[in-house]
Symmetry: C2
Subunit: 285 residues, 2 copies
Amino acid sequence: MKTYLDCYPCFVRQALEAARMAGADETQQRAVLNHVLDALRRLDLSGTPPEVGDKIHRLVREVTGSNDPYRAVKERSTRESLVLYPRLKALVGEGSDLLDRAVRLAIAGNIIDLGPAGEYDLWATIERVMAQPFAIDDSPAFHDALARTKWVLYLGDNAGETVFDRVLIETLDRPVVYAAKGGPVLNDATVDDALAAGLDEVAEVIGTGSDAPGTILDRCTEDFRLRYDAAELIVAKGQANYETLSTERKGIFFLLQTKCPVIARDVGVPTESIVLKRGVLVGRR
Amino acid sequence: MKTYLDCYPCFVRQALEAARMAGADETQQRAVLNHVLDALRRLDLSGTPPEVGDKIHRLVREVTGSNDPYRAVKERSTRESLVLYPRLKALVGEGSDLLDRAVRLAIAGNIIDLGPAGEYDLWATIERVMAQPFAIDDSPAFHDALARTKWVLYLGDNAGETVFDRVLIETLDRPVVYAAKGGPVLNDATVDDALAAGLDEVAEVIGTGSDAPGTILDRCTEDFRLRYDAAELIVAKGQANYETLSTERKGIFFLLQTKCPVIARDVGVPTESIVLKRGVLVGRR
C-alpha cells in the first residue's frame, strides 16, 4: 500500500507520542518533530507507510537516546494479556467452530496497537469482535490452505496481542514459525516480547531481522526471507503487515482490524471492520 | 493561549482538508502541505494557534487560487440553520429561564465548526447541550454584567452558528454590535455570511477587518479596536476567540464547546464540555 497525504497528520502525531513515550523533554520533542517535518517534505509517496514509520521511530530513538520507548508499555500489555489467557481459552471453547473463534480472538487482540490514534477497551473489543460479521471473510480459502499446508509462517504484530496469537496457534493444529521484530519499534513484539508471552511453547520463534513496522522484506535477514519464500501459508497480523505485504503475490492471509480510515479504504471496508483477507493470487504462485 | 506541539498534527490535517475543500489536485495538496511543514519547522510557539491557522489558510488560498474554499459549505450551513430558526425560537420559549436557554443554544450552534476533526450531528448536539451541565458556569457574573452594560459587542464564529447567535441576541435585550470576519477563513462567518443569516435585523453588523481565525487584535482595523476598547461586555463565541483573547484583561465572556483536547486542557475542563467563562479580571480594567 502506498503512502497517502492523509497519513501525514498521523505521522506527526505518532512522532510526538513516541517522543513523549521515550521521556523526551519539550526541546527534544520539538527536535523530533522538526526532523519528521523535514522528512515528510522530501517523502517518496510510493513507499509504504511503515517505511515512513520506520524512519520516524528511528529518529525518535536517535534524538531521545531511548532504544525501546515502548518497553514498559509492552511488558504491561503482555502481563495483562497473560492474565486473560485462561479466559481467552475458555472463550474459544464456548462455540462449536473453534478455528473461527480463535481467528476472531486473534483479530480482537489486534486492538493492542499504539500506532493509531485513540484509546481502546480490550475486553469490550473482544466481545464486539466475537460477534461482529467479517467485512471480508476468506475463511473457506483459509481453511482449505490450512488443510493443505505442512506448516504455517505467522507474522506477529504487537506485544500483548502475542497471547491472542498463541490461542490461535494452539488451534491451528500445524507446526508454526512465529516471526517477531528484529528490534524495538512502537509496541511491536520483538523476539523477547514473543518469548515473554510463551510463544516458544507453541511455535518456533524467529526474528525477521528488521525493526521496521510491518514486514519490509528487503530489510529482513536472508534467513527470514528463506522461510518466507518457502512458506505455503502465511498468517499476517495487523495493519502494518497489510500495508507492507498487500501487493505481495503470495499465499498470505491478513488478519486485522481496520483502525485507520486510510487503510480501511485501501482494504475496501469501513473502519472498525474485522477482516480475514486472502492476499493476491494465493495458491497460484 | 500559546501553541502546543499537540497542535501540529491538527494543523497538517486542517491544511489538507482546506486544500481539498478548495478543489486542489494532489500536486497542489502536496505543495500546500510542504509549505505548511516548512512553516511548522520555523514556528514561534508563543503565538496563538489561530495565528498559525491564519498562515495555513492563507497558504491554501494562495496555492489553490481559491479565495473562499468553504463558501459553498458556509452557504449550506446558513440555509440549514435558517430552516431551524423557528424550532430554535420555540426551544428557547419552552423553559422559564429564556436567557439560560438562549445561551445554551448559542453554545450548541458552536458545533458548526470545520476546524476540529470529526463529524457532528447538529440536532443531537442541540439536545445534548440544552440538558448538559456547564463545566464552567459564570452565568451570575454574565447576568450582572448584562444588567449593567448599555450595549454588547458580540464576536461571532462560524457561518450557520450565526443563526443561533441571532436567537441569543434577540434574548439579550440590549443593543448588539455583531463583529464578523473581514475576509474568508475556514467556515468562519464573514460580514456577508452574517447578513445572509439576517443578523442585520437584530444587530449592527461590522467586520473586524481581519481574516484570521479568532480575534487577533493587531490584525483588526482601528475602527473595530475602538469598538472593542469601548465595550463593557463582550460575548466571544467559539474556540478560536478563546485562543486569541483568553489572556486579554477585559470584560469578555467566552461561550464555547471544547472540541479540541488541547484547548479543553487550557480551559481546564474535559473535551465536549460547554463553557460560559468570564475573561480574566472582568470589570477591573
